[in-house]
């Protein structure tokens, strides 16, 4: 109920202590010459607009349509992904884990928030939250159900706890009924969540729902 009040909070509430604390820290660091404002802008621009899950969707759709690329990806993901131009911070040692009919993969970092930035961008808030980090390892089926994902009871769940500098990307299964689809169309079925493993790729009928 965002419009219950007669005034607009964004303009009437004073900045929180946290906002003031961060502003003061930034001013101090700029004044002391420890950071440059334009460098901060470049960093934000990179992770807000350039590096994101579309990179990973490109990787996955290419693996679905190009068996040679898929083979290279499974063998050395860092190398294969770099061939598409995706490399850098938090993707130095990348591994791709493939979902099959009897194995489903799920990625977590129980100790902090390790995540393959180069292909997925920055992690969503829930990935960094205590509920996900605590239960992904001990109750992965329950976690998947919270995302509306139900797996075959016979299938095995492999949970990857990112404790080292290795970063994991899930290669979801290609949805049925997409045999003649182009790589570009397939990309639209590859959600970020399917590459973390909490969901499956979107079905052929769900194409375009990512924008909703």
């Amino acid at each position: 109920m965002p419009h219950d009040h007669h005034h607009n909070h964004e303009h009437t509430e004073p900045p929180s202590d946290l906002e003031l604390r961060v502003k003061a820290l930034e001013s101090l660091l700029v004044e002391k010459g420890l950071v440059k404002t334009e460098t901060l802008s470049a960093i934000i621009e990179t992770y807000e607009h350039k590096v994101g899950p579309r990179n990973g969707a490109h990787v996955v759709a290419k693996a679905w349509t190009d068996p040679g690329f898929k083979q290279a990806l499974i063998k050395d993901a860092t190398e294969a992904v770099a061939s598409l131009g995706y490399c850098g911070r938090q993707g130095e040692h990348l591994e791709v884990v493939e979902n099959t009919n009897d194995t489903h993969n799920l990625v977590v970092c129980t100790l902090c928030s390790c995540y393959p930035w180069t292909v997925l961008g920055l992690p969503p808030a829930w990935y960094k939250s205590a509920p996900y980090r605590s239960r992904a390892v001990s109750d992965p089926r329950g976690v998947l159900e919270e995302f509306g994902t139900k797996l075959d009871e016979q299938s095995t769940i492999r949970v990857w706890d990112s404790t080292s500098e290795m970063r994991y990307l899930v290669l979801p299964q290609r949805p049925q009924g997409t045999e003649n689809w182009s790589e570009q169309d397939l990309q639209q079925l590859v959600s970020r969540n399917s590459m973390i493993g909490v969901e499956l790729a979107r079905s052929a009928e769900q194409k375009g729902e990512g924008d909703k």
Binding site: C112, P124, P140
Partner: protein, 222 residues
Amino acid sequence: MKGGHDLGGQLEMGPINPEPESQEPVFHADWERRVFALTLATGMLGKWNIDESRHARERQDPLAYVQNSYYENWLEGLEKLLVEKGLVSIEELGLTANTPGQTTESLSVPNPQTAQKILSFGAHSTIKTDNQPLFGNGDSVLVRASQTTGHTRVPKYAQGVIGTVVAKLGCHSFPDSNALGVHEGKFLYRVVFSGVDLWDHSSTQTEVLIDLWEPYLDGAGN
């Protein structure tokens, strides 16, 4: 002591309540954006490494760690490192920005181009060695118990549990030492654990794979 960050297997943390993927912004407030950028930019000064950075966030009251939002923990860690590394004084943090203290003569402060280059190159954690790994694929290994108050990357839930080595990942910078500023390589293994061994008899059809360094492990026969 187990820090508030070591969350694997903890109970009663509540529902996940994920935001719908298509509606979630990268940052939820402007101050988060600034904390993120300040953390990366100051990290590029080379005064601390990734494990010192993680440890700075972990060295908090465990309850505060869990209650803080994610970027609040980043801010806590960043302020701590800035003070501990002598870049900023405690007084300066408490004051307004009008009274700069120390200077930064010897530091190379990245401009946008340098920052982009650093981000796109990344930093590899592998280290060359002539040593041989103790364990091989298929070996049973027991995860040692640890009561360290320092930084470590062995989750509590795996300690005392036997798993199987499924991959040798090479020699990587050892986080426990790296967090103290000592850069040394140790062999890293991918170890698989069965859900039944980690949790209880109902956790069938579940495996957890954890990357563990050699000093965390003892042989457990075959």
